[in-house]
Symmetry: C2
Subunit: 299 residues, 2 copies
């Protein structure tokens, strides 16, 4: 005979119905999800009309996704959930590696391949910077032949995808480190920007009176045989939003400041020097949070 | 200066960014949501690839929604979240009213208006039943002129929308109670059915080895001036899934069994007798969980 469910036993009833899940990890994740989701509803004594607003919001988030826009990731980012998953991944790493940061929605796998010293900006309309550094392993040795993918906004705060759609790539490139793991390139200073504010997540940000901005940053995806892929970003120290990134991507270790630098490989330009450390492959990696929206749409 | 975030302080950082939310209730709900979502990720030590699978799943749920299908509600239903919201709403009611149940995705506001005693089945191909009852207020007095909307599957387990799309209504009707609050109609015994199994939620149900079935039931939406709208369903006692409804909609007080009944208003048919009690309007109502998918798509 059916037993009446109360606000606590309904949780137990759901767990019982999920008890035969063959995949142990899926079972563990879903059990925890149900417990926390139910605890949330009880905590706030969620009302039917509020539930309805939440359903409509989540539906709109899914519907706002296109092959070039991933609103669900944006929601995760703005709730600090993506940053938390990155932190948990970094905690699992045994070796000390460079802190990860969010991949974000503007990564593209096929960036133009360039030579060391090239500029990633097709037509720089402001003073250039030089970026140089070394890719290292956990023992501090240079990693030769590492693939370094770089992408950022232009000097006015726009990614190529925002200006040109899929048609043209700019302010992104792929470099290969030299025999000592060194690489360098020229670029312009990127600008911070608003996350997309015209969708449901933008509506949430406005309702919370948050500024909706990310501090200026340069993205890096670095891979090399025998090492875990590193996805990170470097943030400009003097950006007004350095302490209040709307997606919580900034770590202190990832903050940079261009400066005059006599050791820079290209003289006469302000320089940024940053060395990256990769973790050996095989462990529970930092991995990456964020993904190519078009891949997620196909999934 | 930016402080590095760890797996706990990242939660605090999100709460701080939301601290200026002007709507106090939105602030309360979002704070609790963030705390519970982060606690979930920490509890299961969520990995980037699992996060990615979750993002893809949620995106697919939103994308599966159409004007006639609400996959996000289905997800909420199958996780017992909708049932929990109903339970919380019933707990807030001071007066004793009939237990609510899920509205579900097959409600349509404009059901055909019929006369007391009519059949809601256009061409019954099995033995009919008679349903009779009274709509009452909290003091047990009959409520005249109450609007009773009824909908159910046909004898083979299909709703009109599933057979005819938007083109034709069947097995649904709207009745008005008489001067004493009584009403009755003829119908056929509905059949239990699978929730839609061809979408992402169906994939989850299969991965959890759940049967995916709802026990046979008749839906009611009852409204009357001065009273809260009641959304509920009555469930057939001998259905094999009466104790394991995939959306947790069954309460013991909502279980029915057709039987020979000398008091039934139409002789010669098995009868179901059920009286409904409405709560007075003005309180924190039981409300309804579930909604017209087309409304949500417009929202």
């Amino acid at each position: 005979m059916h037993q009446d469910l109360d606000q606590f036993s309904v949780t137990q009833a759901v767990l019982e119905q999920m008890a035969n899940t063959p995949d142990a990890r899926l079972k563990q994740i879903m059990e925890s999800l149900v417990k926390h989701a139910h605890a949330f509803a009880r905590d706030v004594d969620l009302k039917p009309e509020e539930w309805l607003a939440g359903i409509a919001f989540l539906t709109q988030v899914g519907q706002a996704c296109t092959p070039s826009r991933q609103e669900t990731i944006l929601l995760s980012d703005t709730l600090g959930f993506s940053a938390l998953v990155n932190i948990l991944a970094a905690n699992r790493q045994q070796a000390k590696a460079t802190d990860p940061s969010l991949l974000g929605p503007f990564y593209r796998a096929a960036a133009p391949r360039k030579q060391l010293g090239d500029s990633i900006a097709e037509r720089p309309d402001v003073e250039e910077l030089v970026f140089y550094g070394q890719v290292r392993d956990g023992a501090g040795r240079g990693v030769p032949q590492a693939e370094v993918t770089v992408w950022q906004t232009d000097a006015h705060g726009f990614y190529d995808m925002q200006l040109h759609g899929e048609d043209k790539m700019d302010h992104r490139a792929m470099f290969t480190t030299d025999a000592d793991g060194h690489f360098h390139f020229r670029t312009v200073r990127p600008l911070g920007y608003y996350i997309p504010m015209d969708g449901p997540v933008g509506g949430m940000i406005k309702a919370q009176q948050r500024h909706g901005c990310r501090p200026a940053h340069i993205h890096f995806l670095i891979s090399a045989e025998g090492h875990q892929e590193l996805v990170t970003s470097l943030y400009f120290s003097d950006d007004q939003y350095i302490g209040s990134d709307v997606v919580f991507g900034v770590s202190r270790s990832l903050i940079i400041a261009p400066q005059a630098d006599p050791n820079a490989p290209i003289p006469g330009l302000e320089a940024i020097h940053y060395d990256f450390t990769l973790a050996p492959s095989g462990g529970n990696g930092a991995g990456r949070v964020g993904a190519d929206p078009s891949q997620l749409m196909k999934a």
